[in-house]
Each structure stands twice: as C-alpha cells, then as structure tokens.
C-alpha cells in the first residue's frame, strides 16, 4: 500500500479518536459549549487549546520545509486576503453548527458509530457541498 494513503488513513483514525475522547463527537456537549447564557460547559475551549498547542509546534516546523517527510510537496495555504465568501461562509457555518451541534468531522465519526441522525446530517451536508459546486459552475459559465 502506498505510504501517503496509509498515513492519510491513520491520521483519519487519530483525528476521529481525538474527537471521541474530547467530547466533540457528542452534539449535546458541543451545544453545551455554545450555550454561553445557559449552564455553560467550557470543555471545548480546552479541545481547541490542546489541538493548537500541538499544532503551533508542527506548523512552525512545516513552514520551514519545501517537501514533506514522505517527499510530498508542502501544500500550505498562501491566501491572506479577507473576502466576502470567507466572512459570510464562516458566519453561515456557525449558524448550521449551532442548529444541530454538528460540524463536519464529528458528523463522520457519529455516522461511523451508527447514528442514523448523523447519516441524515452528513447526506444533507454533502448535498450542500454539491449545491455550492453547481452554483459556482453556473457562475463561472455565465462569467466567461
């Protein structure tokens, strides 16, 4: 098996395990964090803190390399502009996140746990991504 495929798979497993251990895969807990005015569960702030503490070190190293350890090109994002899709998209994502307590990663893990509601959410999310592709394809066609 190709090394990059194997590492992709293993990273998916580690990521999924992190979501399960941290409580992120449980929408009720996510909503407990987003509910500042109710009984507030601050746990998820620590999830992000723990992740970013490790990430800061890794991305500092990554930024100095031109090739990855497996010899792949480093595909680090280069954009720095703030545009309307970024702002409106992120605001819209937060609304969807707050409605059900699911963001994309936890939905996939809950789906793997056999939660039918996670299956429904994931199918709707994929449909949403398909709608994005259709809108953008149409927009590019009419622009050219």
């Amino acid at each position: 098996m190709n090394k990059t495929l194997l590492s992709s798979f293993l990273v998916g497993v580690i990521f999924g395990a992190g979501l399960l251990i941290s409580g992120m895969a449980n929408p009720a807990k996510v909503l407990g964090f987003l509910d500042l005015a109710g009984l507030w569960d601050p746990s998820l702030a620590l999830v992000m803190g723990g992740a970013v503490a490790v990430g800061l070190v890794a991305f500092t190293f990554a930024g100095k390399r031109t090739l990855s350890l497996l010899g792949e090109p480093m595909r680090l994002p280069t954009r720095r502009d703030i545009d309307k899709p970024l702002v409106l998209g992120s605001l819209g994502f937060g609304v969807g996140w707050g409605l059900a307590g699911f963001c994309p990663g936890p939905a996939l893990v809950a789906l793997g746990a056999g939660e039918i509601k996670a299956v429904v959410f994931t199918v709707a999310m994929l449909a949403g991504m398909g709608i994005y592709e259709l809108i953008e394809r149409q927009r590019k066609k009419s622009a050219s």
Partner: protein, 144 residues
C-alpha cells in the same frame, strides 16, 4: 455566566484536543496537507483526477474509528437532540457555508489558528460568534 461543572471534562477534552493536534501535525509533516475535513469532503464531491484516493483513505479512517474503538472500550455518549428536519437544514447550511468559507472547525479552527493565518483567525471568530448567537436565540429567545 454559570459553569456546568458536572459536564466539564477538562482532562479528556485537553487530551482529545492534543490528539486532534497530533493528527493535524502528522498530516502536514508526512503528507504536506492540511487536515481540514470540509475541504477533504469538498474534493470528493467535486472529484479531480489523481486527487481522490488520499481523501477517501482519510475519511474512511474517521468513519471506522468507532469500530476500532469498540474493540477496546464502549463508545462515549453521542446525544443528538435535533430532529430530522433541523438536521437537514443544519447539514445543508454547513455544507454550503464551509465551502464558501473555505474551511470549518478543523481547517480554520485547528490548522489555521496553528499557522496564525489571519483568514482563519477571522473565520474562527465568525463561526464561533454565530454559533453562540444561534444557540442563544434557539434556547433563550425562542425557548425551544
């Protein structure tokens, strides 16, 4: 603000978060890629030749995590209170918005903040903010 001390899981959340950070770290250092779930899914919805297999491997890893987990331990609680219509609306919104916003909690919230990317700092502030407002409106204005 009242903290829900009973729901608060500082150590599990910190450890799970560190594991998520580790996954992102391994992915950028070995594969040279950003572990952003919405972006990885987006590339499966709109497949480009030669850029699919690693995405499927990563997503498969996430989905099988609960199965692997069950070999050692029972799964932690996953409680989904949203009903089916709400899950569909939330899923569509998350799908469209994360593609326009170029990322979600993983790509912006973990990887982007670790890179100190101004776009990701803004995106994370935006989706956390609108998530807080959404839950406030649902629970404390509409009282659902």
């Amino acid at each position: 603000m009242t903290i829900d001390w009973q729901a608060f899981t500082p150590w599990a959340s910190l450890a799970g978060g560190a594991l998520i950070g580790l996954a992102a770290a391994i992915f950028i250092l070995l594969n040279g890629r950003i572990a952003g779930i919405s972006g990885i899914l987006g590339g499966v919805v709109n497949p480009q030749k030669g850029d699919i297999a690693w995405r499927v491997a990563f997503l498969a890893g996430m989905v099988v995590t609960p199965f692997l987990w069950l070999l050692f331990h029972s799964l932690p609680a996953i409680r989904i209170d949203a009903d089916f219509p709400l899950l569909i609306v939330a899923g569509l919104l998350v799908g469209i918005s994360t593609r326009y916003g170029a990322g979600c909690t993983s790509g912006h919230g973990v990887c982007g903040i670790s890179r100190l990317s101004p776009r990701s700092l803004l995106a994370t502030g935006a989706f956390m903010g609108s998530g807080f407002v959404t839950v406030f409106v649902i629970r404390h204005v509409l009282g659902v």
